[in-house]
Subunit: 314 residues, 2 copies
């Protein structure tokens, strides 16, 4: 198996990293605020796919002293992406694979631009999970990844394909179903099809997925936002299947009622991923000549809520 | 002066009706829940343009016993429009002028359809005013009307013009600046240019006009909603001047900080004018092939808030 450095030991980094470690991979976790807790109590995964603990995970409080890995997996919130170039710098050698396990759009390109010598891949994490304390991850539904490479870099397709396949194999060995997408862009937009409506609406409407689906007005909002994602995807050159939005709505009805990550961020008074999840798709569509007004409105409303809370906290 | 029956003695009906009565017009007020209070304490207008009282206004609790007037002025909330055909029936004779003093879009056509023998006109009321108790109106800014006739009925242009001019003269005698619009449709859409952003956002963001204008994100929402109103107006055949939105934003900055009527309705737990102010413009644009997604999103959000409150009140 490959050696992994997991940057950010929250729900995503904690869950997938712990699965890989448990399966025998060398996994190094970066945990900053949670370092002491994980050092003392290990990493604990309460999972529908089988709970387990890593009593003594290899954990670091800084990237400075992390050993060289084959894959640097980025699992911090995109709201911290401004600091990624500095944070990752000690870890990246020519050919290091950087695996972006974040939500949103455009992060792979930004990191590729910061580290031109790295091989940047994306992982779309489909998982209902959250951190319910330092080193403690709750996993309640799904738990798969879709891997893909940035398009438009045909200089080294073979290396890229091999890296994707090797990571997919490692995930499979770790009990994590993993597939490889032919088009990372299409996969990113498909994930936005769910993330854009349900993350934002869960905050502005103060509602979980079941409440959104049960309300005719909220469901209309979700369907309209999905329609805009479909238009944006098509404009950006990554058209989804015509019935993708309909299927995603139907699928959401079957889901365990769920608070999306943005709702958890909001409740925990953490910054929300507005930029990567909303602004970047709106900008991508706009640069292709398409305005996504409902999405932009929702993004502005989230920003307004965040700004007002900052003021009220002084 | 003409004789007026004012249907609804809230801020709009109370203010303009009281001005007309004070200037000597025969004005009959319909007041249902406020009937006893007005009968006992009269109509009191606390106004930037000069405060005054009508100690014994001609007030009725039902349209059944109201005497015949030349103008039946409709000043109830559009949320009551479902009952208007029944409510107005006793008052309408062939040639009676019905003056729609409501917000929103499409109400003149609906009333004209219900009373084909009436002469339906519209009055756009530009006024910052509210009812702060039964028979008590507070007027803090503006206070003008723009009058207009439904287009597409060229059978009796002269009668229509004369009625508009006579009403405009009466308002002027009453100290209310009144002008006549060549296009009621254009005037209605121009008023929506303000009403659509500031009414809805004041509720969803819990903010007054100054707070909306002071926040970059809220201001962007307002500007985007205005852009959609401009597109809707053009699609519906009533294009506004290209700089209308920009001017309206600049004008709003000069306004006394203000809670729009929908915000007052929301706070008083009254139904909001979502249908006439949001759904009708969205439908009008859609039937001309244009989707107004941000406006539709805002309308759904208002409906969601209203529905949830109804549930929480049992």
């Amino acid at each position: 198996m490959l050696r992994y450095s997991i940057i950010g030991t929250g729900a995503v980094g904690g869950y997938f990293g712990a699965r890989l470690a448990r399966a025998g991979a060398a996994v190094r976790f970066l945990a900053r605020s949670d370092y002491e807790a994980i050092k003392s109590h290990g990493l604990n995964v309460d999972s529908v796919a089988g709970s387990f603990s890593l009593p003594a995970p290899e954990v670091y409080s800084s990237t400075e002293h992390m050993p060289e890995s084959d894959v640097v997996a980025v699992a911090v919130k995109t709201t911290s992406n401004g600091e990624l170039p500095k944070l990752l710098a000690p870890l990246i050698k020519p050919g290091t694979v950087i695996l972006i396990m974040q939500n949103g759009l455009g992060e792979e390109s930004a990191i590729q631009a910061a580290f031109p010598e790295a091989l940047v891949l994306g992982a779309l994490c489909y998982i209902c999970a959250w951190k319910d304390g330092p080193g403690s991850v709750v996993h309640r539904d799904k738990g798969t990844v879709t891997l893909g490479a940035l398009s438009g870099r045909h200089d080294d397709d073979e290396t890229r394909r091999e890296a994707l396949q090797q990571i997919a194999r490692d995930f499979a060995l770790a009990g994590v179903p993993a597939d490889i997408s032919d088009s990372l862009g299409t996969s990113r937009w498909r994930k936005l099809l769910w993330n854009i409506p349900f993350n934002g609406l869960s905050v502005t409407l103060d509602a979980d997925t079941r409440e959104i689906m049960a309300s005719p007005s909220a469901r209309r909002m979700a369907a309209r936002l999905m329609e805009e994602v479909m238009r944006g995807a098509a404009a950006a050159g990554f058209p989804l299947e015509p019935d993708a939005a309909k299927k995603m709505l139907a699928y959401t009805e079957t889901m365990t009622p769920y608070k999306p990550s943005m709702k958890l961020d909001w409740e925990a008074q953490r910054p929300m991923e507005i930029e990567s999840m909303y602004r970047n798709p709106v900008r991508a569509a706009r640069s292709a000549g398409v305005e996504l007004h409902a999405i932009a409105h929702l993004a502005d409303e989230l920003e307004y809520m965040e700004a007002r809370r900052a003021v009220s906290r002084g």
